[in-house]
């Protein structure tokens, strides 16, 4: 039952250095074509999530501006206002409110015909801080038909716990390594392949879990259960590979699809497929519809109900269980040119709605235990969620 508990392999770091070196050498000999900086824009977003006893909503603002046609600076401010009476919360505690603020700054530049993107993100709430730095490098080949990219992220998390004077903050070190390839296939078709490896290292067995969540331990004599703290491995290594595809039809409508396969050292295998259809209705409207199916298997050390705690690791996070998530969604977007004497060149309003259905195969609704319902035979948990996004964009 124990998951392998190990450190970052030095061999992998050497391989990444090799891959980066190989790319650098490749870039110096290939014919070069300049890429394009992202366009200037300001976005104001209102986002809302509601489902499973949880509501999270708030604003987000993004501003992006080019400098000297060689640099693009961006800054973003994002807020989550959380009110949670989720199934995890109500089985062991009571509804809580929380506010998370995330700020980020970014610099994009094209130097010697290679694109660089540097970003720094800082997230803060009363019991969790997460800072991360990201570098992405990309280069076009074959007259812009092919784009190859490499990226690296480093994250530092501090895991706190409210209302617990005995809690000592834990630390998490996160590293992402990613590679991507975008390819123009025909006059009407494009594809993208991505690969990303992520390594999380926690300072101890409670760093990678949630300090507030508990496992259930079955007390067979009394047909009841008790709670105890979770115990996680100190590392998590994951690999994900994805393929995306877009095709422009004769009508100028677009079909798109996406597939991703995921696996990690905790024993979880996950995959998703998404398909969608976009209808531009000239000159101002764009309608999109989409469907997504996600499925995963449970972590080696996940259990809804433990017989005892004689294991190296154990957790009851439903995010680590066996479940499916199906979602449908639609977007309606209206964009028009501004009068020529305005600073703003174009304005856009977009509304997006997504509806999620989560169904768990081995996470039970612990609120439903009673004299007639023994622990371990409660109904399996499921919930639905509505997600809304309302976006105002100005291009200048």
């Amino acid at each position: 039952m124990a998951a392998t508990d190990r450190n970052i392999p030095a061999l992998m770091v050497r391989c990444l250095k090799f891959a980066i070196g190989a790319t650098a050498m490749t870039l110096t000999v290939a014919p070069l074509k300049a890429a394009v900086l992202p366009e200037d824009r300001a976005d104001i977003l209102y986002h809302s999530y509601s489902g499973g006893g949880v509501t999270i909503s708030g604003p987000a603002v993004l501003v992006r501006k080019k400098l000297k046609d060689k640099y693009s600076l961006s800054a973003k401010y994002y807020v989550d206002n959380v009110s949670s009476a989720s199934i995890d919360v109500v089985t062991t505690a009571s509804r809580y409110s929380e506010k998370r603020v995330e700020t980020s700054v970014g610099l994009d530049t094209i130097q010697d015909k290679t694109s660089y993107s540097l970003n720094y993100i800082s997230s803060s709430e009363s019991d969790y801080n997460a800072d991360s730095a990201h570098l992405d490098v990309s280069h076009d080949f074959f007259g812009d038909l092919t784009t190859v990219s490499l990226g690296f992220s480093q994250g530092w998390d501090t895991v706190g716990k409210n209302h617990d004077a005995n809690w000592v903050d834990r630390k998490v070190d996160r590293r992402n390594y990613r590679m991507g390839l975008s390819q123009i296939l025909t006059k009407n078709a494009i594809m993208n392949l991505s690969f990303e490896s992520i390594i999380d290292e926690g300072s101890d067995n409670r760093a990678l879990g949630n300090p507030y969540r508990s496992v259930r331990i079955f007390d067979t004599a009394n047909n009841a259960y008790s709670f105890d703290s979770e115990r996680y491995p100190t590392t998590r290594n994951s690999d994900a590979i994805s393929a995306k595809f877009r095709y422009a039809l004769e009508s100028k409508n677009v079909v798109f699809s996406e597939y991703r396969q995921y696996t990690d050292s905790w024993g979880i295998n996950g995959w998703h497929v998404q398909v969608g259809y976009i209808m531009p209705i000239e000159p101002e409207w764009l309608i999109e519809t989409r469907f997504r199916h996600y499925a995963q298997t449970h972590a080696d050390f996940y259990s809804d109900l433990l017989p005892d705690t004689n294991f190296n690791f154990y957790a009851r996070d439903k995010e680590l269980s066996t479940f499916t998530s199906n979602s449908i969604g639609a977007t309606a977007s209206y964009e028009r040119k501004a009068p020529s004497n305005w600073f703003v060149s174009r304005g856009k309003v977009s509304f997006m709605w997504d509806y999620f259905m989560f169904d768990y195969d081995d996470f039970r609704d612990a609120r439903k235990t009673s004299a007639d319902v023994t622990p371990g035979s409660e109904p399996l948990y499921h919930f639905n969620a509505n997600v809304y996004r309302l976006l105002f964009t100005a291009f200048y």
Binding site: M1, T4, P9, L11, M12, C15, F18, A19, A22, T23, T26, A30, P38, L45, H47, Y78, S104, S117, I121, S123, Y128, A130, D131, S132, H134, F141, F142, G143, D144, L145, V148, G151, G155, N176, M179, S182, I184, I190, E196, S197, D239, A240, K244, R246, A248, K252, N253, Y262, D264, S265, W266, G267, I278, P280, Y294, D300, S325, V387, R389, L391
Partner: protein
């Protein structure tokens, strides 16, 4: 039950990174190939509907919704970012 022995995982990752880097080398060998979609033939690809990401701020948000509730992460095409979604 999955037993990922460290040396087997290292070997698998070495092969993956090496073969991806090897593909990059092969790209330089293919310099004789001229672009089969000329710049003046790309009008159908330059529309907002054919963009991988029309609005980065909303794409980042929906990725955050997935990551907070699903175990899978990575290979989304973005530049990553932590959120403390434990």
């Amino acid at each position: 039950m999955h037993h990922h022995l460290p040396h087997r995982r290292n070997a698998a990752l070495v092969w993956r990174l090496a073969s991806l880097a090897g593909c990059l080398f092969l790209l330089t060998a293919c310099e004789g190939i001229s672009p089969w979609v000329k710049p003046y033939e790309r009008q159908n690809l330059a529309t907002p509907a054919m963009s991988w990401s029309r609005d980065g701020i909303t794409d980042a948000y929906i990725s955050h919704v997935y990551q907070a509730r699903e175990s899978a992460r990575g290979a989304e095409g973005g530049s990553g970012g932590g959120c403390g979604c434990n």
